[in-house]
Symmetry: C2
Subunit: 218 residues, 2 copies
């Protein structure tokens, strides 16, 4: 060890913010807040997500362990921030999908696949969104609002198929779809699905399940 951390951005010229990094609050690092979020996402998406630590993030970015605390109140603050971004991202993904799909029944299938794609391709976000420590803070208004954005979108999609349903019933239907898909994703990540449900069957399987839950007797 030693060496390395000694003087990284102190070498010759003083300013790290060299080329005026285009935008943001460029200072020593450039935009440490954004950089922290990006690196955290990478770690969350990896296999060793549970050992995500502020110190590790700081190390990767070449700053001291105290630096992150000028951009996030604490560890949970960063995770909640990522979860909010994640819900916005999921909502955007579903909106785009539905818009491109038109009004026929295929939208159900497309939205289902969009959810799965988001969960797997944006695994960092998905993890942050459903991390126990984040869920425990669901009272944070911004987080709740972001989550409602996605949920309400699903509700509207259901209402389009069952215009006669009462609000409470629509809401329940949405919960049941979300529970099913979240369960599939979680159990896949947890491992036990590996042997019982081949990966290549999963998407078709999920769509079938969603249809079954949508067609519940009314």
């Amino acid at each position: 060890m030693a060496a390395q951390a000694k003087s990284i951005n102190r070498g010759s010229s003083p300013g790290r913010p060299k080329g005026r990094t285009s935008s943001s609050s460029a200072y020593h690092h450039g935009d440490l807040r954004q950089a922290l979020k990006e690196v955290a996402l990478e770690v969350l998406a990896g296999p060793d997500a549970h050992l995500l630590s502020f110190r590790e993030l700081a190390r990767r970015l070449g700053v001291t362990t105290a630096a992150p605390y000028h951009h996030f109140k604490d560890r949970a603050d960063l995770l909640v921030s990522l979860a909010i971004d994640g819900f916005h991202c999921l909502h955007a993904s579903m909106s785009q999908t539905a818009e491109a799909a038109g009004r026929d029944d295929s939208v159900v299938e497309k939205l289902t696949l969009a959810y799965l794609d988001f969960a797997y391709e944006q695994r960092g976000y998905y993890c942050a969104m459903f991390l126990p420590e984040v869920c425990a803070l669901r009272d944070v208004p911004e987080l709740r609002a972001a989550a409602d954005l996605s949920f309400d979108y699903v509700c509207r999609a259901i209402l389009h198929f069952h215009p006669q349903l009462a609000e409470q019933e629509v809401s329940e239907r949405a919960v049941s779809l979300w529970s099913f898909l979240h369960g599939v994703v979680t159990l896949r990540a947890a491992g036990p699905l590996g042997r019982r449900l081949p990966q290549e069957r999963e998407r078709e399987f999920a769509v079938e399940g969603v249809w079954a839950l949508l067609r519940l007797p009314e």
Copy 2:
């Protein structure tokens, strides 16, 4: 040399194992391994599950921080041990339920409710079973075997309702039921269900969802 262990419980009477704690391998503590599991379950079931630590458990039991390592290889070893117990417990619960229910359709409802009851009443076990760090170790043969016990039980129950289904299809159906129920439990614990699905509707709601998934077109 030097040092010499001060002698803490050497004072007057030597024995820690005083009252001959009734059974088990009574030594200093009595049965530290079992005691660790029980206290860990309590912590896991509580709201601050994420700060379960060996040191905390040792503190609660009045032993030093190194003592637990003579009974469990490491933290994960204890958690896996609890998860195995949990799967056995779930299997036992489902078996009893089904046996008491007879052969009619009501068994589906009873098994569904048994799963929910287990998840909520044995929250410590349920948490241990689906903790990310535990799921990552699903290769441990004993853990896999315990999990298969419950899963295969569900498969047999499905086969009873759809005798003509191929093995792969039965397995998929079981996955879909499990995903749905696990999703409901997880989202309930995560928070977002709170406002969308009243607690008193949850059991009925879960049964309806299970029926829908069971009746999938074949």
